[in-house]
Amino acid sequence: MMQDVKINPYQFLVLVILFTIGTSILTVPSALATDAKQDAWIAAIIGTGIGLLVVWLFITIAQWFPHLTYVQIIEKLFGRWIGKAFSAFFVFIALLYASELLYYFGLFLNIHMLPNTPMVVLNILMAGIVVMGVRLGLETFARTAEILIVVFFVFFFILVVCISPEMKLENIQPVYETGTKKIIQSSIFYVIVSSVNAVVLLMIFPSFVNKMKQGKKTFLIGNLIGGIVIIVITFLCVTVLGFEKTAGEIYPSYELTKKINIGNFIQRIEGLMASLWIITLYFKTTLYFYVSVLGMAQILNLKDYRPLTLPLGMIAVVLSLVIYPNIIYQKHFDDTTGNSLTLSIGFLLPLLLVVVYAIRKRMKKNKIEI
């Protein structure tokens, strides 16, 4: 019942692009500009490069088990109980991240558009469509992504064209002043947000994509396209706003769209541009939520994951109001524990998988020889 859904490589590509852009488009420019200053855009380029290596690691793991999801791979390699413990941790983190993104959505609308509406209402609205998407299944929201990616790129194109007259290249000079070490350090955060987090896509990639060979390519290409979008946004932020303002804002790319002014006639179109973030945020949240629901169903060996969606949606809304008491806590958390959490499920766990796989393979070989 759960396994008969398949998406084609193009739909997977679209999902990877939207996932990679996800929250990075909102938060990454300011995080990069804090450390790398006017060289934030170089840090974004390096980050995309490192991110591709990380994705290559995921693809290698996916290749060994073309019909299993990440949770099943973990269970197969580590054995039943240890595997279940690891995957339970993974699923729990995915649920926490889903509620984290609900919080981002509610906070963004609360600050910029609907200041008098309580945040819980906004979170419930978002959680409602997320739960609806997950209940309708992977195929349905992959097709929705196929339609909305066109909207996304049209708006992105309009944004880039309209803002380009405001660019001041003096803002990125002197180029490469901060030095290699500082730039690489600040790019690590970006790698963690957009590429290491993509480990949740391993729940979809080997088993639910119908053409394995093309799927591998699309994972890399999608990550690259998403990275290019982030590089462009970061470059525009730094050249238009300057690195000090970029680092000081919570949502620098939103500030960027406020600057659009063509002949004193086309102005203040940021409300329209906010749909960019709503689209990417929605798909990132839906993927996280889908992964947590599907992963939980697979850990417990359930036949269908749909009954779990509504109760888990309720829990996610409550968690989204609890996890961040205020924005200072959020900033601090994202800089410290957020990184370790993502690294542990998205980098250390895959590395451990590789090691265990190699040892098991060798043991098997020896047994046959004896």
């Binding site: 926490l96 819980v120 350090q185 690590i188 939980m296 417990l300 060996n301 359930l302 036949k303 269908d304 009954p307 779990l308 509504l310 109760p311 888990l312 309720m314 829990i315 809304v317 409550v318 968690l319 109001l321 609890v322 996890i323 961040y324 008491p325 958390f333 410290t336 524990t337 990184n339 370790s340 959490l341 690294l343 542990s344």
Partner: protein
Amino acid sequence: MIKTIGIILIAAVILWIEVPPLLEKKYKKELLVFSILLAIGVGLSITLFGFEKPIPNPFDLLTFIFKPLNDFISHFLK
């Protein structure tokens, strides 16, 4: 009080949507997991909205557990 009644109403609607198909197909394990999760969800929401008591933050616990790794990463990045 109104909030608590609202949450219970939402839970009733969820039960009404989910339970009949599960009973029809005789998915007992699914029903069990569903009920446990719904109980957790309703419990958490009523504590937060109905009684307006704070819920412990899972991120505080995770910060406590991951402290060594955090220190290692920040050491590596400085």
